[in-house]
């Protein structure tokens, strides 16, 4: 009796999970992970791992003891305050300027204007140029014997060569960096805004037009509010990138206009101190995170405002 009772459930257990089925199911379950694996491995090896390393570099000495000495070293350095000031100044001037410029460009590209594709191609040129190359192009313009000075002299507007990029002229130096950065990096904001404009159904603008809105009122009351998600993305992305501004600054000013990223580079390469460089990198990360958080809160888009076509 007892042996019969124990064997029957065993037999049932064997019947239910058919081996071929089980194997097939396991394969379908693994497929997404297999597909994700290359990207995941890449991210871990080249991003997550170095990031951890950088974090540890900033808070641990060579012997493995925890320390805040590198942060103190960073803060007490004479260049630190200037780097922060310059970076923030660049952000508060560059980002609004680029947002407005990019919006005008995007609206122009989204209009029925004849020859708008010419503008698209012209504006896309900086997209194909590396930031260091862009810096060198603008150096050729602002250098002592650069294009700008040659032009000013040949048109008789000036009889001496002006040192635009000299540390004695911080304003012209700053303006040169701003111009170069504006030229180099406005396209990314423009592309995001053009994409955003293209998904807004034209009926909204038409309805506003029928109900009496002028071009300006349509922009203010309809297009801009509907473009808010794209504006938000563009703003976050452009500000984060502005915290990392580097190659153009280095190419145009060398060390005369210290910014956060150039200081990180300088500590790493000039002073052979990767620990303070890592502290700078962490500071940039912290700024970016806080800034993104503030943007997301300030430009919050209610769920009920989106999601209808």
């Amino acid at each position: 009796m007892s042996s019969q009772v124990t064997t029957r459930p065993q037999a049932e257990r064997e019947v239910i999970p058919a081996p071929p089925q089980r194997r097939a199911r396991r394969r379908t379950n693994a497929t997404p992970y297999l597909l994700l694996a290359p990207a995941a491995i890449f991210l871990v090896v080249f991003f997550a791992w170095p990031m951890m390393q950088a974090l540890l570099l900033a808070v641990r000495t060579g012997t493995g003891a925890w320390t805040t000495q590198y942060f103190r070293q960073m803060i007490t350095d004479v260049q630190f305050a200037r780097a922060i000031r310059n970076t923030l100044l660049l952000i508060v001037t560059l980002v609004p300027l680029q947002m407005v410029l990019a919006l005008v460009m995007a609206l122009l590209l989204n209009s029925n204007l004849r020859g708008k594709s010419f503008f698209l191609y012209a504006w896309a040129i900086p997209l194909a140029i590396s930031d260091l190359a862009a810096g060198i192009v603008w150096l050729a313009i602002f250098a002592d014997r650069g294009y700008l000075n040659s032009m000013l002299v040949s048109w008789g507007l000036s009889d001496t060569l002006f040192n635009f990029l000299s540390y004695e002229h911080p304003v012209s130096m700053f303006v040169a960096v701003m111009l170069a950065e504006t030229w180099r990096a406005t396209w990314i904001v423009m592309v995001i805004l053009v994409a955003g404009l293209q998904v807004i159904p034209k009926e909204y603008s038409e309805a506003a037009e029928v109900f009496g809105a002028t071009r300006w009122q349509r922009l203010r009351h309809v297009t801009l509010p509907l473009l808010r998600p794209s504006l938000q993305v563009a703003l976050i992305l452009r500000t984060i990138l502005a915290f990392q501004v580097f190659a153009v600054v280095i190419a145009l000013t060398g060390r005369n206009l210290p910014v956060l990223a150039s200081e990180a580079y300088n500590w790493y390469n000039g002073y052979n101190n990767p620990n303070v460089a890592a502290a700078y990198a962490l500071l940039i990360l912290l700024f970016s995170v806080v800034n993104t958080f503030v943007y997301l809160r300030a430009l919050r888009i209610r769920d009920e405002e989106v999601g209808i076509a």
């Binding site: 909204y204 309805a207 037009e209 029928v210 109900f211 009496g212 509907l226």
Partner: protein, 369 residues
């Protein structure tokens, strides 16, 4: 007064082979409800958008209330419009949506509030004024779009298939509401639709369009009863008008048409078509069916019987030509059984085979409502 005068309006879209709207002339009287009806691609929406000012015209003139508006932007035409997609602003509450036009006019806040509340009440939107469009159903959004238009107290109201995105039951319900609203508004209304039932039920007059041209413009009953072409007859009515081929013959000065060895008396206008084929048009409800043979009736064969509740819809064959007719529900129709048909003589319409045009009354008689 807001009579709309459309003269020789033509529009060809860039890259279009044929004009979307081709030399259209139309007068919409003050306070009239005009329906532009036609299949998709017939140019009805393009015509409406040109009246709104949302499309440029290639040629011709549009005037509203005696004022030439052909080259005016939409906001200077003093119109209101309901869009097919509603185009209710998703970032504004229902209240702000309805108030949009009033705010553009810079009306005082107190007036805006009073008017918006009245329109919201008319369209049963009071509980939703603080909501966002995404929190509303399709029917509610549609009502917001209508409220936004009527709050303007417009002289001219344009509607582009406003009911086509609603489900069938809601559409039927809202159609009557809409008719009442527009009657009370007393605005000159142009309503675009491809739904012939909507056109018949709403319009004071219907302009039937095809391939960019207005084929017929008359009262709903006239369009239904006296279609100007075979196309109009087959587009309007459910089931569409039956068209049978017959041959015009003339004996002893009398004109008649033979249809599958049977003779129908024909009006004298058909005399000039003697010896040629014509199309005989007759509506399903204008054919009487008999279960027994009588001398004057057309013998036919029942093919399909479809009970519709109020009627039977019978598909019958005369020779190799098919037609549909409505009978009482107690009619003893049997598939493949014989039946005898008697079309009402004064409901017979005659059309040219090659052009599809009606033979008979002059075009003037047709256009008059």
């Amino acid at each position: 007064m807001a009579e709309i005068l459309i003269q020789n309006i033509t529009k060809t879209y860039a890259g279009g082979k044929q004009p979307a709207v081709n030399d259209v002339n139309l007068t919409i009287r003050d306070g009239e409800f005009m329906v532009l009806l036609g299949p998709s691609g017939c140019g009805k929406t393009t015509l409406l958008r040109m009246i709104a000012g949302l499309e440029y015209t290639d040629a011709g003139q549009i005037s509203i209330g005696g004022r030439d508006v052909t080259d005016l932007p939409p906001r200077k035409r003093q119109i209101a419009m309901v869009f097919q997609s509603y185009a209710v602003f998703p970032h504004q509450t229902v209240f702000e949506n309805i108030a949009f036009g009033l705010r553009m006019r810079k009306e005082r806040d107190a007036d805006v509030k009073r008017k918006v509340e009245r329109s919201a009440a008319l369209l049963q939107l009071e509980p939703y004024v603080e909501r966002y469009p995404a929190q509303l159903s399709g029917g509610q959004r549609q009502r917001v779009a209508v409220a936004r238009a009527i709050v303007m107290e417009p002289k001219v109201l344009l509607m582009d298939e406003p009911l086509s995105n609603l489900d069938a039951l809601l559409r039927l319900h809202f159609r009557a509401d809409l008719k009442k609203l527009v009657q009370d508004l007393k605005a000159t209304t142009i309503y675009v639709t491809h739904d012939q039932v909507e056109a018949l039920s709403l319009g004071d007059r219907i302009a039937v369009m095809r391939q960019g041209e207005v084929i017929q413009c008359s009262s709903p009953m006239a369009v239904y009863d006296r279609p100007a072409t075979e196309f109009v007859g087959s587009f309007i009515g459910n089931p569409p008008m039956n068209f049978l081929r017959g041959r015009v013959e003339r004996t002893n000065g009398h004109v008649h048409v033979t249809l599958h060895e049977h003779v129908l008396t024909a009006p004298p206008e058909l005399a000039q078509h003697a010896g040629r084929d014509v199309l005989i048009g007759i509506r399903a409800e204008n054919i009487e069916a008999e279960a027994r043979e009588t001398p004057d009736n057309l013998p036919a064969r029942t093919e399909v019987v479809e009970p519709l509740g109020s009627h039977l819809l019978v598909t019958a064959a005369i020779g190799d030509q098919r037609l549909k007719l409505l009978t009482r529900t107690d009619f003893p129709a049997q598939p493949d059984g014989p039946l005898w048909l008697r079309p009402e003589p004064d409901k017979l319409r005659w059309f040219e085979v090659d052009t599809g045009r009606e033979i008979g009354p002059t075009p003037q008689q047709r256009t008059e409502a």
